[in-house]
Symmetry: C2
Subunit: 192 residues, 2 copies
DNA sequence: ACCTGAACACCGTTCAAGT
DNA sequence: ACCTGAACACCGTTCAAGT
């Protein structure tokens, strides 16, 4: 088997979409590639570096899509981010648990900051606002994937009675736009 | 050694604050309690149930503090939530990865929903808004604890040059209030 | 340069057996 | 009722050895 970093990362993504992050081990990944676990360590220093590579790969996909968008605003960035995160099961957890300043990802962070500036955020709150926008999308996709899994335990009857038919599950796109609007309008309203 | 669920949970919290979630295993926990790992399984079905118990214990602390607050609004809830989460290292990750509908935690969720209603959120967006508020605080504390750890790798020079001295790190309380204001005003602005 | 065999030091979990 | 010894099936990682 001829390995390289990208082959390994793509195989890992396939495994994530089939089984989820918990089932992804260096050994299962090696097995899927018909290779021994130790071989992976020739291409990646350790598992963390592999995860970092996956986040970086996804960031590259996002940047590629952004190139085709002129006059990008935060609304569009958030939508593309959500869509690409959804393509990889458990990607929000991977993003949360890896070092963020890899090349493509850094460029996305810088773009996010610029878009915050465009929304009128003052300089001293750029990073807070940027983190908040990023965390909103990550958490939203994490919740979506959690419910898509369908393996959760039930809500207690007490709760289900009080909040019947939560529309977000039926209308995830509308709910995402609602949350996004909350964030964007909130940022605008909080600018002096 | 005389064990019970609470003793185990408190020992786990101590270990979290000393070493973090990654170092917390059933075996290290047992060692800290001067007991064998298998003993823990008499009190908890598995590690997940133990983590769930820790989140539930923290939720109980929050509820206790909320009892002393009259006319609680979301601003106050968010502050108390943040403070209690900060008392336990990696608590945001624990909350994210456990089943949420345990008794005390369910009551907090119901309260959160009610406070969203007080802010004027329409019925069909209650759960989205509630999740968003919850995720905001969780993510914020996760970031705070990440930076408090101090073991992160450096930002690239390119980035540090563009965004010098991020005030959020120096002024975490002010930054939290900023984010909270963004959320609250955004919710109000997005109500028809 | 790239891969493997074999090992090391860990995990979570189970369960018959002890008290 | 509560705890343990001993095992099972896993992990991530290293490194001398092979090609």
């Amino acid at each position: 088997m001829k390995l390289d970093r990208q082959t390994i990362q793509l195989a890992a993504i396939t495994l994530l979409n089939e089984e989820g992050l918990e089932k992804l081990s260096m050994r299962t990944l090696a097995k899927a590639l018909d290779v021994k676990a130790a071989s992976l360590y020739f291409h990646f220093k350790n598992k963390d570096e592999l995860m970092e590579g996956i986040a970086e790969l996804i960031s590259g996909r996002i940047r590629q899509r952004l190139e085709k968008v002129q006059n990008c605003d935060f609304y569009q960035l958030a939508h593309i981010l959500r869509e690409e995160l959804k393509r990889v099961n458990d990607s929000p957890k991977i993003f949360e648990n890896t070092y963020p300043f890899t090349p493509n990802r850094t460029k996305l962070i810088v773009l996010g900051m610029k878009l915050m500036q465009d929304l009128g955020v003052d300089k001293q709150h750029l990073t807070v606002a940027g983190n908040m926008g990023n965390n909103f999308v990550l958490s939203y996709v994490a919740d979506e994937q959690y419910f898509a899994r369908g393996t959760q335990r039930q809500m207690p009857a007490e709760f289900a009675a009080k909040f019947p038919s939560p529309i977000d599950l039926a209308n995830p796109d509308e709910a995402f736009d609602y949350g996004l609007a909350v964030f964007i309008r909130g940022v605008q309203a909080t600018t002096k």
